[in-house]
């Protein structure tokens, strides 16, 4: 079954530029998310959920509502984190390549800017119209060391998952929109979550 699937997908894998163009959303756009973070430091992944919103080029907001309140603002090269009961903190985006990946990948997608995406990532698409996988691999070797690849899963013109994976077996997976409501069970692993993203 897998073989035939791959075969068919090759035949009618969507054209990357067309796919990216289809994913474009006019700013401001927002989407619910559930993020599952895997880290070698952790026994079990950390899970938070909330809303991700895009207000224009270089401006991304990540609002966590569960299990606590937290608001992250990305503006240009700067990040500011506000958490309930704590003084706000801010740091430069250059310190967090993962975040920079999220920003450039996400905004390029939301802008429908295939050319912009290709400047920073090697882009490849697999799958079919109803279940596609867009893989982004950072071109910049320094960024590549921290994020091995960004995987966007989706169907039609809706992205379902946005995953950033590093080579230490960690990373985070963001389930977007309808998928954000999914119940992942008590102890999800990176593999089970990724499988879920692929719609398996």
């Amino acid at each position: 079954l897998l073989l035939t699937w791959t075969a068919t997908s090759r035949a009618d894998a969507p054209d990357p530029a067309a796919l990216v163009a289809r994913l474009a959303r006019p700013a401001p756009a927002s989407v619910a998310f559930q993020e599952i973070r895997f880290s070698p430091l952790l026994k079990e992944p950390l899970r938070v959920s909330g809303e991700l919103s895009y207000t224009g080029p270089g401006a991304l907001d990540r609002k966590v509502t569960q299990p606590y309140q937290e608001h992250t603002m990305i503006r240009g090269e700067s990040v500011r984190v506000e958490r309930e009961g704590e003084p706000p903190r801010s740091f430069a985006l250059k310190r967090a390549p993962e975040l920079k990946g999220l920003l450039s990948g996400f905004t390029a997608l939301l802008n429908g800017d295939a050319a912009g995406l290709k400047r920073e990532f090697a882009v490849s698409v697999e799958g079919a119209e109803e279940t596609w996988v867009l893989e982004l691999e950072p071109v910049d070797p320094k960024a590549h060391r921290r994020i091995q690849r960004i995987v966007v899963n989706g169907g039609g013109s809706d992205p379902r998952c946005f995953s950033m994976l590093n080579d230490k077996g960690g990373g985070s997976v963001m389930l977007l929109g309808e998928s954000a409501k999914a119940d992942l069970g008590s102890k999800p692993t990176l593999d089970t979550v990724l499988a879920r993203c692929r719609g398996e």
Partner: protein
């Protein structure tokens, strides 16, 4: 000019010698710009610190940089780019925009975080403390900041390094936007750039400012963004440029005026060459003498020296005006020589006393002027006559001069004028309301008011150290000083609490005493205990039990570390701040406490008094004013001695009480008049007024001597009149130009000398000319 082979050879030799001297000067001359050369040697500890330590201290070296004109995030980006670009610049010791970077700390200093952070003063790394910390870290890890912390967390789950770095930030934290400093309104990104050069060094300050501006131009892509740089160093560059431009402009105008005047007076172009030769010789001789004796020449010495030896221009003018076809030029020079020599000697005496004023700058000025005047006088006497063609106009022939002379003859020899002048001047001096002396050095090269306001505003936004108040804590060694600083910390915090100050900074905030470090060390649990507590604390957190082993290892290292010393930190990139806060001289260690936002200096003074005799509040404004006053005292002593010597020289040369009185009277009265006019118009006197008064007195003496000397024959009288008219007109022109300057230093000299020239000339006419009945009428 004489057209003989001999004259030509002499001219060639002279010019050649000047060129050689010029070459020597160019090779030897190092122009210094440190203003402190013009201050006397310090007497009080405050003055010592001002001149030796703090003149180069943290407050004066800090340039405040503001970026404005675009969205805050763009400004923040540029602020970061600038900081990074200037990080390794040779011009800056430290460039900071408030951003903290974990990788700024060298690896071997990392375990010291447990000895430097105050955490262990309050708590131990027990189960309860570790558990709250670990729970907070889990949230951090799930936030976007998690990516940034993930690598560091196993080594530092309590984020001790972040606490240390935060402690090393200024106390009065400016607003932060996107991780970097901003002003309160959030519209200007702020940076502090600490230059390596002291503020007093305009050349190196200029290089630093230029490096900053170049980096800005290269990095900024947004034409809306502008950069403002402010601080003592920037001002010294600005003022030096203004002074230089204006002096150059005035100098050019004076030269053109001089050439025109000489052409009108002598109607031949050779007069320009002839009168320029002694002056050029004087300038070069002065420079050579100073660079041979002192090594470096101060910029101010150079500027004033050239103004002062302008008098030398008068010497060839006297010779040229007295030239006549029937007398060999050498004979003319010989007959003028006693008068000329008396003038040179007496002027030199006035400056010679500066040599012993104890102020290097003044000594340089004296050396320059004396050498210059002597060379100008001697070359006028012995070299110049060989070049002068005796044929040509005799200025002793009757003509326009005669009519002037007749008008002068009709003037009363008004000895009573002296009494009137003394009374008027006394009244003028008595009515003056401003302080007699100007003690504020800054007033002489004043920074425009709006720039000062802007600077103050930026500094208060950033909380950079106050430039006026500072505390010095003395002790036997670093440890004693650090201990004292730690002791003072609670009462300093109380001052902040009372809002007397907004913040303070001292070395112990960076490096605690060995005792404190040992105490913290002793509160670190032993390895087994720590590992056991950590395992217990990890229960109920999402972390794997084994990941914090690097933390346990670092704590183990920290327990055995020798305490961190100031010297050790000095050699690291973190040393920049400490470098300026700990001074060591002659076996005495001095720690400085700097303040920001000083709102209540009286409370600060009371605090310092209560703290003990080893804690000294420095009011740098006071210290610099007392220095200026001290400098003036030595200058006034020099002047008093000079006056006595001067009277002696004149008496020796004229040998007649009444002649001496006639010669000295205009000079004395002129000094009085100049003082009275300056004071009545609200001017407070500075060192530069005093120097200008000496110059004016020297000029007056020359005029009086020549008037006195020309007492015997009408043609000679006319020649003298011609000479004095040319001299005084040229001097008047040069100094009237200076008086029009917008810069107080140049203006002070210009106004004083202009008053002096006019008054000396008129008074010499009224008081010095011998009575008419003694004269042979033409």
């Amino acid at each position: 000019m004489k057209r003989t082979l001999q004259a030509f050879l002499l001219l060639a030799a002279w010019v050649g010698a000047l060129a050689l001297l010029g070459l020597f000067v160019q090779r030897q001359l190092v122009i210094g710009t440190d203003l402190r050369l013009f201050l006397p040697s310090p007497k009080t500890p405050e003055q010592k610190l001002l001149l030796e330590g703090i003149g180069e201290g943290p407050a004066t070296r800090a340039l405040v940089v503001a970026l404005q004109g675009a969205e805050p995030e763009r400004l923040a980006d540029l602020s970061r780019a600038l900081t990074q670009a200037l990080h390794d610049s040779e011009h800056f010791q430290l460039v900071s925009n408030g951003e903290m970077s974990l990788d700024a700390v060298p690896e071997d200093l990392l375990p010291y975080r447990y000895l430097l952070s105050p955490t262990l003063d309050q708590t131990r790394f027990d189960v309860a403390y570790l558990r709250t910390q670990l729970k907070a870290r889990a949230r951090d890890l799930a936030s976007p900041a998690g990516d940034y912390l993930e690598e560091w967390l196993p080594r530092d789950p309590t984020l001790e390094l972040v606490k240390v770095l935060e402690r090393w930030q200024p106390m009065q934290e400016p607003r932060r936007e996107y991780d970097v400093w901003f002003d309160q309104s959030g519209t200007r990104a702020l940076l502090v750039a600490q230059t390596r050069a002291p503020a007093f060094d305009p050349d190196r300050q200029r290089a630093a400012t230029q490096a900053l501006e170049q980096a800005f131009r290269e990095l900024n892509e947004d034409p809306r963004i502008t950069m403002t740089v402010s601080g003592a160093g920037k001002f010294s560059v600005l003022m030096e440029e203004r002074t230089r431009t204006e002096a150059q402009m005035l100098g050019t105008a004076a030269t053109v005026g001089m050439v025109v005047l000489l052409l009108v007076a002598y109607r031949r172009s050779s007069s320009i060459v002839l009168s320029a030769l002694p002056l050029a010789s004087a300038g070069l001789a002065g420079l050579a003498a100073v660079s041979a004796l002192f090594g470096t020449v101060h910029g101010i010495t150079l500027a004033f020296g050239f103004t002062l030896i302008g008098v030398a221009q008068d010497y060839p003018i006297h010779l040229l005006s007295h030239r006549r076809p029937d007398v060999e030029p050498y004979a003319v020079a010989r007959s003028l020589w006693p008068t000329l020599a008396t003038g040179v000697a007496s002027t030199s005496i006035a400056y010679l006393t500066f040599l012993f004023s104890g102020v290097v700058g003044l000594a340089q000025l004296a050396c320059f002027t004396v050498a210059g005047l002597a060379v100008a006088g001697l070359s006028t006497r012995f070299l110049l006559p060989a070049l002068i063609d005796p044929a040509g106009r005799d200025y002793g022939h009757p003509g326009l001069l005669d009519r002037i002379n007749a008008a002068i003859e009709r003037l009363p020899r008004a000895r009573w004028v002296a009494a009137v002048i003394v009374l008027l001047c006394a009244a003028g001096l008595a009515t003056a309301r401003t302080p007699f002396w100007e003690n504020d050095l800054g007033r002489l090269t004043p920074v425009p008011e709006d720039l000062l306001m802007q600077d103050q505003e930026l500094r208060s936004q950033l909380g950079t150290p106050d430039v006026r108040y500072m505390v010095a804590v003395h002790g036997q060694n670093d440890q004693a000083v650090l201990a004292r600083l730690e002791q003072l910390e609670p009462s300093l915090l109380a001052l902040v609490e009372r809002r007397a100050i907004k913040g303070f900074d001292h070395a112990a905030r960076y490096v605690p005493t060995e005792a404190t470090q040992h105490r913290r060390q002793s509160r670190l649990s032993d390895p087994e205990q720590l590992r056991a507590d950590l395992q217990e604390a990890l229960k109920g957190t999402p972390f794997r039990p084994e990941v914090f082993e690097p933390f346990a290892e670092d704590v183990e290292i920290a327990r055995k570390l020798p305490p961190l010393t100031v010297d050790r930190v000095r050699d690291t990139p973190l040393g920049a701040g400490i470098e300026m806060l700990m001074l060591e001289r002659e076996g005495v260690a001095t720690g400085l406490i700097t303040f920001s936002g000083v709102a209540d200096p009286i409370a600060l003074g009371e605090w310092a008094d209560a703290a003990g005799p080893d804690v000294l509040l420095l009011d740098l404004k006071d210290a610099s004013e007392s220095l200026v006053a001290h400098q003036r005292t030595s200058l006034l002593w020099s002047l008093a001695i000079a006056s006595l010597l001067l009277v002696g020289v004149i008496a020796l040369s004229l040998r007649d009480r009444w002649r001496v009185l006639r010669v000295l009277m205009p000079m004395i009265l002129t000094t009085l008049i100049a003082l009275a006019i300056l004071r009545a118009t609200g001017v407070s006197l500075s060192m530069f007024h005093l120097i200008a008064l000496i110059l004016a007195a020297g000029l007056g003496l020359d005029y009086a001597l020549f008037f006195e000397h020309a007492a015997d024959d009408a043609a000679e009288q006319r020649r003298t009149l011609h000479a004095i008219l040319v001299c005084s007109l040229s001097t008047l022109m040069v100094f009237a130009l200076l008086a029009a300057s917008s810069l107080p230093v140049l203006q002070a000299i210009g106004v004083t000398v202009t008053i002096g020239v006019v008054s000396n000339f008129i008074l010499a006419l009224l008081l010095t000319r011998p009575a008419g009945e003694n004269r042979v009428r033409a």
